[in-house]
């Protein structure tokens, strides 16, 4: 699967030429796909036809038992369709052995599903080794991926899954799914097993990774908010995997196709609009920054000159590590604190930003970009200003 392949226009969907990074994903086309289990009156999937454009995140949502997971698992043939065809990058999924097919499709499930008897490195190395990569290339890839998902390779490479937190396990799960650089990533309720704050961070990280890699990601969730946040498109399914609506999050919220979608999206959908606006669209405040190891005196002087009462501390690689008030700066030089700073990614929604701000003593949240690089701070006033301007636009 090469990048050129994915760029070839295989359907009416034009390739995203203007995208800032190259699409490495492949288009997936489902045609009249049916799954009928023997002994069941109605099929689990009742003729599903669908095009998933290369390089996009498509979220499958719907009530439990609607066939969304079945549909997902038919893409990598963990479940064999009764009839119909599935083409990935123009190739029939049934035209090759199931193992060969699956090695080209990343698969991430709830909790990461890491193998407990293997170290983090060995978990990630599974598919590259199945594909016969040499040891050096595998080792380099492991470090690269751990870095990508925000885990320091030297520290985490040789750990066992049970020595990691739930969020870290899930990150390794994503790294393992991406290990052999597959054009397609299938995710089944990937963030279902972690607490809300960790879930939000993992979602942010996925968006940040996707900004870099531009894979085709198909993700099943039961959480409409997650679908709105992550999806370029949302597929809302009724029982039997009948399509209720397949559209952008904006359209699903703004113009629900029918009552079913309306009910599913739920009330408070104007509040859900907050999930459509990304932090990157709001003006960021840029307070004085300090680097770990800098003299406290210098930092204090700089902040006071700028009229600030707090500073954002960055580590040597430009990642924010703390956000202390000036009076909290003690000792000679700025040190890295023990507790982790809760930051939000620039692709996070205003909904997430408000959540994070409410738990911060600063009434704001530190915003990061690719690989956790510091971008600035989002504050309440900026959010309310932005909402007001949106309302004004809507009124006009």
């Amino acid at each position: 699967m090469s990048t050129e392949h994915a760029m070839e226009p295989t359907s009416e969907e034009p390739p995203a030429e203007e995208a800032q990074s190259q699409v490495s994903g492949a288009e997936i086309v489902l045609e009249d796909v049916v799954k009928q289990y023997p002994g069941q009156a109605s099929p689990a999937v009742e003729s599903l036809s669908l095009t998933i454009p290369a390089g996009e995140i498509v979220m499958f949502v719907g009530p439990s038992g609607c066939g969304k997971t079945t549909s997902l698992k038919m893409i990598n043939r963990l479940i064999e369709p009764t009839s119909g065809t599935i083409r990935i990058d123009g190739e029939d999924a049934r035209g090759q052995s199931e193992n060969a097919l699956r090695r080209k499709i990343g698969y991430v499930i709830q909790g990461g599903s890491l193998f407990p008897h293997l170290t983090v490195a060995k978990n990630i190395a599974i598919v590259p080794k199945l594909l016969g990569w040499d040891t050096r290339r595998v080792q380099e890839r492991i470090d690269e991926l751990l870095d990508l998902v925000g885990l320091e390779p030297a520290k985490y490479r040789d750990r066992y899954p049970r020595e990691l937190s739930g969020g870290q396990q899930q990150r390794v799960g994503v790294a393992r799914g991406l290990a052999a650089d597959p054009p397609v990533l299938l995710m089944d309720e990937p963030f279902g097993a972690v607490d809300p704050i960790t879930r939000q961070r993992l979602q942010d990280e996925l968006l940040s990774i996707q900004r870099e890699l531009r894979k085709t990601i198909v993700c099943v969730t039961h959480d409409i908010d997650e679908a709105i946040k992550l999806g370029d498109r949302i597929l809302i399914l009724k029982e039997g995997a009948r399509i209720a609506q397949y559209d952008s999050p904006e359209a699903v919220l703004g113009a629900p196709a029918d009552e079913f979608v309306e009910d599913f999206v739920g009330s408070g959908s104007s509040l859900k609009q907050l999930s459509l606006v990304r932090v990157s669209e709001v003006e960021l405040h840029r307070p004085v920054t300090a680097t770990v190891g800098e003299k406290v005196g210098d930092v204090r002087r700089r902040a006071e000159a700028a009229g600030e009462r707090s500073v954002v501390v960055l580590d040597s690689r430009g990642r924010p590590v703390s956000w202390p008030w000036l009076r909290q700066l003690k000792g000679d030089s700025v040190v890295e604190p023990a507790d982790e700073l809760i930051t939000i990614d620039q692709r996070a929604t205003l909904n997430d930003a408000l959540d994070t701000m409410l738990s911060s003593s600063h009434g704001g949240a530190v915003v990061t970009g690719d690989r956790d690089q510091y971008l600035g701070v989002v504050v309440f006033d900026a959010v309310t200003d932005h909402i007001r301007s949106l309302e004004e636009q809507a009124d006009e």
Binding site: N76, L78, E98, N99, A100, L101, R102, R103, Y107, I109, Q110, S113, F115, P116, H117, L118, T119, I126, V127, L130, Y160, P161, R162, R176, L186
Partner: protein, 213 residues
């Protein structure tokens, strides 16, 4: 007693080693058979009841009786003793291997299949390693049990320490009767302890840190 041992030290050492050797070989072969059976049984849920019943009934057969049954078919000698020991040794390993394989989280298996591992690779690299601590616990039980069975198997002129016990029993009241019985019994206990220690060590080496209790 001491003189008794010193006089026969070479003979005793040889028999002790033979006892150890018989049991280890029988348990090794039994473990292989049991794991293969367990894989088949776990793959076919209908066989599970049968397997459980066989291992439960099998353990109720007195070993003396089994040796008696094998005798007309395989005649006297080490091979018959080996068969008797191996027969019992299979049962605890089989039971534990079935439980161990059943305990493997099905989502892990699906995850492995979803990554493109073949069924055999999933068995070899995921299911068996994850079941290994439980299988090994079965091997330890099996090894302990087999030490006693091997002593009985000496009745058919099998190798090992059982011979001393029978000689002691046969000459009750005579000179050295108690000595024979004691040396045989204590020897079996010592060999059993050594074997168990070795299995513990094997567990240390072969069970990955990630799933060690």
């Amino acid at each position: 007693m001491w003189d008794f041992i010193v006089e026969r030290r070479e003979q005793i050492a040889y028999n002790t080693f033979q006892h150890f050797n018989l049991v280890v070989q029988a348990v090794l072969v039994a473990t292989l058979i049991a794991v293969v059976l367990a894989v088949l049984v776990v793959g076919a849920p209908r066989l599970q009841g049968v397997a459980n019943a066989i291992s439960a009934i099998g353990l109720t057969i007195p070993s003396f009786a089994l040796v008696g049954l094998l005798l007309p078919v395989f005649s006297i000698g080490a091979f018959t003793a080996f068969l008797a020991v191996a027969f019992y040794a299979v049962l605890p390993v089989l039971r534990n291997a079935v439980v161990g394989l059943q305990q493997v989280d099905p989502t892990l298996v699906e995850s492995a299949r979803g990554m493109g591992m073949s069924r055999l690779a999933v068995l070899w690299r995921i299911r068996l390693p994850l079941a290994w601590p439980v299988i090994l616990a079965g091997v330890r039980i099996s090894m302990q049990m087999s030490m006693g069975v091997a002593a009985i198997a000496a009745y058919v002129r099998g190798p090992g320490l059982g011979d001393y016990i029978f000689r002691g029993l046969a000459s009750i009241g005579g000179a050295n009767a108690v000595n024979y019985a004691l040396v045989g019994t204590l020897g079996v206990v010592v060999v059993a302890l050594i074997a168990d220690a070795l299995l513990l060590l094997l567990g240390r080496v072969t069970v990955p840190r990630g799933i060690r209790a």
